[in-house]
């Protein structure tokens, strides 16, 4: 059979239900050749209309494959189109000049070297990768190279353009999954009853199986489509699929085929979900069942009626139901010679198909053989119960009907309609669906029962064939796996990979279960099926990612930092200046002159009310009742397990008014912590907490010249050391901006003032400081320089020099903890820690060789025991040597102790414990000036 035949042989004249626009014809590329198509053709239909039969090579054995189902799920129809891999050729519409190529072929579709795998079949049995390519281990890179060549699938180019993906939310009262006759009827009935409805249909048009039906069905289709269009309140999404149903009817819908967005993910909270997916036709398992030219009856009816394609010239039809009969009639109608109709209801059977790249002959159950180029099978239907399963239902297998039906555990807000729910005439199914729609919208109404018709149970024939065409798993493989002991359906699935391919079980599960049941002497019901999991259809990672919602927070001075060449540091959601080119120079400038640093991310909480001191006493380990107006105090917070939670300074600004600062990463945590206490255990306390972290731009002005600089721009505050001592707070006007809060504290160890400016004026004040301090040597400094200086002063950073196990006394804050307070967070654990004694301690450390800067988190060891670690480590420009903070075991805490530090490269150095945490100016002379 040649691959390129005159188009007219395979393209029919206009069909009543066709989706083609014959006024628009064009050409496209396939496997190097040019082929004609009409607007409305799918890639596979257009190729079939040119007589092309082989569309791909299968996953493992590289067997030639063609159209089987002519639907989205067709396993033999995955192609590469315009650079996009894994395109479903039987669903994707052709575009003019589209460049389509086969996948998984080498060197070509015609002659695929890797089909030699078939000869190696016995070495490539299921699970072969558990048994081969294991030893010797040193050959793994070589194995990988070879196996990669044989791996299936399309190609992704690194230069592919980025797509625009999107997300949106929806709140339909009723979401109908499936736009066939039942889905449409349910949607209309629900909307008539006043519900907002979202109707989701996988294919390009509503209608389901009506679209390839006879004139009667086409008439019903037209009426239903008109009803949907004419009814307000129905949002119709075509070329879209429900990919999963989650708790409380949270439903994910993937919307494809949009002009401006690659794929859109719709997250819908539906009041009621109506599941109306119809039934999926099941392939028959026998020798040669995957040969191009073997098709399901629905494939034939789609090709003939939707795409005006003659699928072959001489056909054999194996039919067990009305749809198979109708397919035979369709073929005859369009001039295909139907050489034999094999009626499975009367015992007819197909044993084997002969022909390599295409069907040539069919051997029947009665011993005869028929020459033909097309074998049509109609052996039964699979109920796609996935959404029901996801809603907690356990579908039940009905042997008489040879399919699964909804169980009794369906949630009241999930309803089934159409073929999934039962059988009947078209009118009966529509009436049932309308009642379902009514119930979905109103919660009322009686839903009529549906009969369940008998159907012969046809799964595997007399010969072994392919069960999973996506994964190349044959019935022989399933029987062998069961014999090896993988006899439960979940084990079978994982060992053989059956149902794990592109169709995800829609075409394979029931056949696999039936064959396993027979091989293990159980019923299908006893064997059970595997778990259905979302997504029901493939979804791009782009759609799942959608728009990247990652809040970013900026200080008002950010434009200045950028213009000044700051190297950014990502600190949680904040972008901060790490340094401006030379952090060491920044340190020297602060210690010698004056520097300014943007500390806006510092957490700030406005506390108001008469009971604020009680809150402070509860949250902090120290005492707060006697903090006078104008004074500032440093505090540490512990959690109820005694572990250090946060630290900061809090100032008493005015009557019943305090300003608390926290670490920047702890701002949200401390606020929630305070709210927890105030809302639950202490509802009677009159305290209002308002976060003002971003309301103030915060600048730390530090260095010997800081007072001088600040006084040049400040009015309303006496900055002299007598009027404004260390650990005090004042409010005044800076650079003409009223309402600025200033406190004198000293993280860096220099004379410094931390000013908090209403954020809208932050940049203005920053610039004013720069402008007014040139002769004083003002320069900005960043987070890195601040880290170095605070380390020189031995100031611990919560979360860096403490961790989730550091109880208060271990953090060297003994003098702060007031165990004689009534109750504060952490009190019991801290007092027990104190009683026990013998706890690891945070100490200052200096490597004996001052030129070595140990990596942070380097372990402190004794022999092969870990007795501590380095928590902070830097080279100090001020001291000209390396300095550290770290934890050591209780017996090593004394000043002068020499400890051994193991560096990441496993070499060891020695370091000495210092008398106090501060390496520089331990008395704090510079601070208090």
């Amino acid at each position: 059979m040649s691959e390129r035949s005159p188009a007219s042989l395979f393209r029919l004249g206009p069909q009543p239900g066709e989706v083609l626009d014959r006024s628009q014809s064009f050409h496209f590329l396939w496997d190097g050749g040019s082929y004609p198509a009409f607007a409305g053709d799918t890639i596979a239909a257009a190729l079939a209309a040119s007589g092309v039969r082989v569309l791909s090579r299968s996953f493992k054995y590289h067997r030639p494959r063609g159209i089987l189902t002519a639907s989205f799920h067709d396993p033999g129809c995955m192609v590469q189109a315009d650079g996009e891999p894994n395109v479903r050729a039987a669903h994707r519409r052709v575009k003019p000049a589209m460049d389509v190529a086969p996948q998984n072929v080498w060197p070509s579709l015609r002659f695929d070297v890797r089909s030699a795998n078939r000869a190696l079949g016995r070495f490539l049995t299921p699970g072969f990768y558990y048994k081969t390519f294991i030893k010797p281990q040193r050959l793994w890179p070589a194995y990988q190279k070879v196996l990669k060549r044989f791996a299936a699938g399309g190609r992704i180019s690194a230069g592919s353009a980025h797509g625009y993906f999107d997300k949106r939310y929806a709140h339909p009262d009723v979401l109908v999954a499936g736009g066939g006759p039942a889905g449409m009827a349910a949607a209309v009935a629900a909307a008539e009853a006043g519900a907002s409805v979202m109707l989701v249909e996988e294919e390009h048009d509503l209608g389901g199986h009506l679209r390839w039906g006879g004139s009667g069905e086409l008439g019903v289709l037209a009426a239903l489509r008109a009803a949907v269009t004419g009814q307000s309140g129905i949002e119709v999404l075509t070329d879209s699929a429900v990919t999963g149903r989650y708790d409380d009817n949270w439903v994910a819908v993937v919307q494809r085929g949009l002009s401006d967005v690659e794929e859109r993910l719709i997250k819908a909270r539906a009041g009621v979900v109506v599941v109306a997916p119809g039934l999926i036709e099941r392939p028959y398992v026998f020798a040669g069942n995957d040969t191009p030219g073997v098709m399901l009856s629905t494939a034939v009816r789609r090709l003939v009626n939707l795409y005006a394609v003659r699928p072959g010239s001489r056909a054999v039809v194996l039919t067990a139901n009305d749809e198979g009969d109708a397919a035979a009639a369709d073929l005859e109608r369009v001039g295909v010679e139907v050489a034999a109709v094999v009626d499975a209801r009367r015992g007819g059977d197909v044993v084997r198909v002969r022909g390599g790249r295409s069907v040539e002959r069919v051997e029947l159950g009665d011993g005869t053989s028929v020459d033909c180029d097309l074998l049509v099978t109609a052996v039964g239907w699979t109920a796609p119960t996935a959404l029901l399963n996801m809603a907690g239902d356990r579908p039940v297998y009905r042997p008489q009907a040879a399919r699964f039906l909804p169980g009794a555990d369906l949630a009241p807000n999930v309803l089934a309609a159409g073929g999934l729910a039962g059988d009947g005439s078209l009118d009966q199914l529509i009436e049932h669906a309308r009642a379902v729609g009514q119930r979905a919208a109103t919660g009322e109404g009686v839903i009529p029962d549906l009969e369940v018709r008998d159907h012969p149970a046809l799964f595997g024939g007399r010969t072994h064939g392919i069960v999973d065409l996506s994964e190349d798993i044959s019935s022989k493989d399933i029987v062998a796996a069961a014999r090896e002991g993988y006899d439960s359906v979940e084990l079978l699935k994982r060992f053989t990979t059956v149902t794990m391919g592109a169709a995800q079980g829609k075409l394979e599960t029931v056949n696999a279960v039936a064959i396993l049941a027979e091989a293990t002497g159980r019923s299908i019901d006893e064997t059970g099926t595997t778990m259905w999991r979302p997504p029901y259809v493939p979804i791009t990672l782009g759609a799942l990612a959608g728009r990247m919602f990652e809040p970013i927070r900026h200080s008002p001075m950010q434009p200045w930092h950028e213009a000044y060449g700051a190297v950014p540091l990502v600190a949680g959601e904040w972008i901060r200046p790490d340094h401006y080119g030379d952090p060491v120079a920044e340190v020297r400038n602060v210690r010698d002159n004056v520097g300014i640093i943007d500390v806006t991310p510092l957490g700030k909480l406005d506390l108001r009310g008469p009971d604020v001191p009680q809150l402070l006493n509860l949250l902090y380990v120290n005492k707060w009742s006697k903090l006078e107006i104008g004074a500032v105090r440093y505090g540490v917070m512990c959690a109820e397990d005694g572990v250090v939670l946060d630290d900061g300074v809090t100032g008493h600004l005015g009557p019943d008014h305090y300003l608390m600062s926290t670490t920047s990463s702890g701002a949200a945590t401390v606020w929630e912590w305070a709210e927890n206490w105030l809302q639950t255990a202490h509802r009677d306390w009159r305290v209002h907490v308002t976060p003002v972290t971003a309301a103030f731009a915060s600048i730390n002005v530090a260095g010997p010249n800081s007072r001088q600089l600040l006084s040049r721009v400040t009015t309303g505050v006496d900055l002299s050391p007598e009027a404004f001592p260390y650990m005090n707070v004042r409010t005044g006007s800076i650079a003409g901006v009223d309402g600025c809060v200033m406190w004198r504290i000293g993280f860096t160890g220099e004379l410094s003032f931390e000013i908090h400016v209403p954020a809208g004026y932050g940049l203005h004040v920053w610039e004013a400081l720069i402008d007014h301090g040139a002769d004083l040597g003002v320069a900005p400094f960043g987070v890195e320089a601040q880290r170095i200086m605070r380390l020189e002063k031995g100031h611990a950073i919560v979360g860096q020099d403490t961790d989730g196990l550091t109880r208060g006394y271990s953090a060297a804050i003994d003098s702060l903890i007031k165990l004689d307070k009534d109750d504060f967070a952490g009190l019991p654990e801290l007092s027990w820690q104190r009683q026990r004694g013998e706890y690891p301690m945070l100490v200052g450390l200096q490597p004996v060789d001052g030129s070595v800067v140990p990596a942070e988190a380097s372990q402190i060891v004794e022999g092969n025991h870990i007795v501590g670690r380095i928590t902070s480590s830097r080279w100090s420009p001020t001291l000209g040597r390396s300095i550290c903070l770290g934890f050591v075991a209780p017996h090593l805490i004394d000043a002068g102790t020499v400890v051994t530090v193991q560096l990441p490269d496993r070499s060891r150095i020695e370091a000495t414990v210092t008398p106090q945490l501060a390496h520089f100016d331990p008395a704090g002379v510079r601070l208090r000036g």
Partner: protein, 193 residues
């Protein structure tokens, strides 16, 4: 002590104003006027206060009421956000606090018939007329950021005020512009309300 420093410096919003930029009422603002059907305006300069107490302002939780130029929203249990007005609110009651958050919150106004469609892309709340009519006020997650929303229709057009913690203002603004791109959104200058 100090040399005289220029008084009344202009305050800046966290959101970079769309050109042309002018100074109005002490704030750097955008003077752009767009007649697009869907517009986004930075209204951060509007005065804002958080009032806390028990039942102090009559507006119930989840609702907002306008009195002339002042909008009062019941933004939380025992909490109200007051927008606009000449002076700080001074309600009577037992334990009240009033905190000026003019600088602490970025405020954005989204106006147009398609506004709810845009919001449905970035916020999981149901924006239908039934659930979120004119006068509704709530707090939820918009583009993964905790944001307060007040529906405050203008001249018959659906309009929403969104405010968030100030430092994320530019992020919220950019997220709304991105979501509205396919709907033809355009930035416009705020008009102080």
């Amino acid at each position: 002590m100090a040399e005289p420093v220029p008084r009344s410096p202009a305050a800046r919003s966290p959101i970079t104003p769309a050109a042309p930029v002018v100074v109005r009422d002490g704030w750097e603002v955008s003077d752009r006027r767009s007649s697009a059907a869907l517009t986004l305006a930075d209204c951060t300069p509007v005065r804002k206060f958080v009032v806390r107490g028990n039942g102090v302002l009559g507006v119930p939780f989840g609702r907002a009421e306008r009195h002339g130029d002042t909008l009062v929203a019941g933004s939380g249990p025992g909490e109200w956000t007051v927008f606009g007005g000449e002076a700080a609110p001074s309600p009577e009651g037992e334990f009240i606090s009033v905190v000026d958050v003019t600088h602490g919150r970025a405020l954005i106004r989204l106006t147009g018939v398609l506004a709810a469609r845009l919001l449905a892309k970035v916020c999981p709340i149901d924006f239908s007329e039934r659930v979120t009519p004119h006068g509704a006020a709530f707090r939820s997650s918009v583009a993964a950021l905790a944001t307060d929303v007040v529906r405050d229709d203008r001249d018959g057009s659906p309009s929403y005020l969104l405010h968030c913690e100030r430092s994320a203002g530019q992020y919220l603004y950019d997220s709304l512009l991105d979501a509205g791109a396919e709907l033809g959104i355009e930035p416009t200058g705020g008009d102080g309300r």
